[in-house]
């Protein structure tokens, strides 16, 4: 569902596609995002989920940053992402248990300190500080 909405938002119309080259199509996408294109894109940070660590282990990001946890294709173990500590009022954050070929995203809207752990591996943890 989320993917379908995104698709409607960013795709050019059929007419636009037929009349424009690749570069121009990118420009259309950029106009729809805003005048400056990529500059207005919501911030995101990637985190690698590997056996048995997250990388990086600490992050400081502005509010509304999307954290994207990406499971390494080399994993031989099951891992998840669970918010063991988070600011008051933030709903539970918990991915499915996964090994490879999986990505989990959450936008951290509220400032404060978050601590994420793998519930299967006691010392596999990371911290995210979200600043206003």
């Amino acid at each position: 569902m989320r993917r379908a909405r995104a698709s409607r938002r960013w795709s050019a119309t059929a007419d636009e596609k037929s009349n424009l080259g690749r570069g121009a199509r990118a420009s259309v996408r950029g106009r729809r995002r805003g005048a400056s294109g990529a500059a207005d894109r919501p911030p995101s940070k990637k985190v690698k989920v590997a056996d048995n660590f997250y990388s990086p282990k600490q992050l400081t990001v502005p509010e509304n940053t999307t954290i994207v946890w990406k499971w390494s294709r080399l994993n031989g173990e099951t891992h998840d992402v669970f918010a063991a500590a988070k600011p008051k009022g933030v709903k539970r954050i918990w991915s499915v248990p996964a090994a490879t070929h999986y990505t989990f995203k959450r936008k951290l809207k509220k400032a404060g300190k978050y601590r994420f752990i793998c519930t299967f591996h006691e010392d596999m943890a990371m911290r995210v500080t979200v600043k206003r």
Partner: protein, 449 residues
């Protein structure tokens, strides 16, 4: 596992950096099965699932699960279901998911064409007690075939798990359950796994019986498992057979109070580094350069565990091995140091070498570390390590066993001297003998399609 030619000393040094414990806010995997789930009021319902339109209540298992409540039964007819089934929460306590108990391969859960979360686990049971799963075949999932986590009481029977990314049939942080009449193969870690069992004042035992596990990295693995009985089962053609182990990557070390009895543990010489039907794991347990290949039963740290009445034969490195968890001995935390030690283990009445027709490379290996470990009534036919049998104390075990640094050095050398890029190094210490023919089973050392 893939670290090339590292010495154990370097390895140990790298791994021995203590890490902060996080037990205080370690949440869902705390104390499973508090009970009191919301079982449906009134009579339990039965739902049917099949692929044919309008012939059953649902066409997907997931939809049936969402409709069901604890105590209900979901009957799934033969077919291939391209979905991942999640049973999560106490509202499902006592749910029964029934496929084809006689021919579980007829009811397939196939993860091959799935993506993302749906591609991970065939069946995931989380925080739902006393769920029964009977008669399914899960294959091609990126993580696990059948996965039980944070529950008290589970029944997994007549299951087949193949070609998963981690474990075939897996119970984690759970108290008491049964895995029976099931089969696991081509899994890139263990076919069967029970790990991180919470210590209990009145233990609920888990039973693994009448299962077959073959052509996996390990036949059975149990990191920090306790109160588990593994019996009357076949573990063959794996990298190694049955391996209870103590690791600090999971809670509650060491493995303890387990019983391994009445099993046939044979031909565990699958060198998957040469070729494998699965993706070979990047590393072994605790970052070891590799799991050892060619061992029948290996206690890698264990306490109060009994290994008895097993038939162990045709394993090229050793039929049985016991070694303290050398990496944990270097930890600063006294509890982890303690968890490394072999204490109170009993190895008795095992038959090695199948009446001399299918010998192990070595029958028994024990470094003599720890206390109260004893050996009695075992029938051996190949040499032991140490060769003078100085570590094999009679039962009851002595206050302190007779440590042999030479034996430990030999055992460590088997692990340290391997190089994943050169599969032959995993066979360097094997002592091969002819196998006895066995109906329906062919020895597997090098995989080919």
């Amino acid at each position: 596992m893939r670290v090339a030619r590292v010495t154990v000393i370097a390895l140990v040094a790298a791994l021995a950096v203590p890490t902060a414990a996080s037990a205080v806010d370690y949440p869902p995997a705390g104390n499973p099965g508090k009970g009191g789930g919301k079982v449906r009021k009134g009579k339990a319902k039965t739902y049917t699932v099949c692929k044919q339109r309008k012939r059953c209540d649902f066409r997907t298992i997931g939809k049936a699960v969402r409709k069901a409540r604890g105590g209900d039964t979901i009957k799934v007819r033969n077919g291939t279901y391209r979905e991942s089934v999640t049973i999560s929460g106490s509202r499902y306590d006592g749910l029964k998911l029934i496929g084809n108990a006689k021919k579980p391969r007829k009811v397939k859960l196939d993860g091959k064409s799935l993506r993302g979360a749906k591609a991970q686990n065939g069946v995931l049971i989380n925080n739902a007690d006393k769920v029964k799963i009977n008669g399914f075949y899960a294959r091609n999932f990126k993580a696990n075939g059948f996965f039980v986590v944070n529950v008290t009481g589970y029944t997994l029977t007549n299951l087949v798990a193949g070609k998963t990314g981690v474990y075939g049939i897996y119970a984690f942080n759970s108290k008491g359950g049964t895995m029976s009449r099931s089969e696991a193969f081509h899994n890139n870690d263990a076919g069967f796994y029970i790990g991180q069992t919470p210590p209990q004042s009145k233990p609920r035992r888990s039973v693994v019986k009448n299962v077959k596990s073959y052509a996996n990295v390990l036949g059975f693995s149990g990191t920090n498992m306790r109160y588990v009985t593994i019996k009357d089962s076949d573990f063959f053609n794996n990298g190694s057979g049955i391996v209870p182990n103590a690791l600090d990557s999971e809670k509650f070390p060491p493995p303890e109070r387990n019983v391994i009895t009445g099993n046939r543990v044979f031909w565990n010489n699958f060198n998957y580094y040469a070729a494998a039907p699965f993706t070979v794991p990047e590393s072994g347990p605790a970052g070891l350069p590799g799991y050892p290949l060619g061992v029948g039963v290996l206690l890698f740290g264990s306490q109060e565990t009994t290994v008895e009445d097993n038939e162990i034969f045709g394993n090229w490195l050793a039929g049985f091995g016991a070694i303290q968890q050398i990496l944990l001995t270097l930890e600063e935390d006294p509890a982890l140091k303690e968890a490394a030690i072999l204490r109170g283990n009993t190895i008795r009445d095992n038959d090695f070498g199948l009446n001399g027709t299918d010998l192990n490379g070595r029958d028994m290996f024990y470094d003599g570390s720890g206390t109260g470990n004893c050996f009695a009534g075992n029938t051996t036919r190949s040499p032991n390590v140490p060769g003078n049998n100085s570590t094999f104390a009679p039962c009851p075990g002595p206050a302190a066993n007779a440590f042999s640094s030479a034996a430990q050095g030999e055992g460590v050398g088997w692990i340290a001297g391997v190089n994943k890029n050169d599969p032959s190094t995993f066979e360097k210490f094997w002592l091969r003998h002819p196998h006895a023919a066995r109906k329906g089973v062919t020895p597997l050392e090098r995989y080919s399609r």
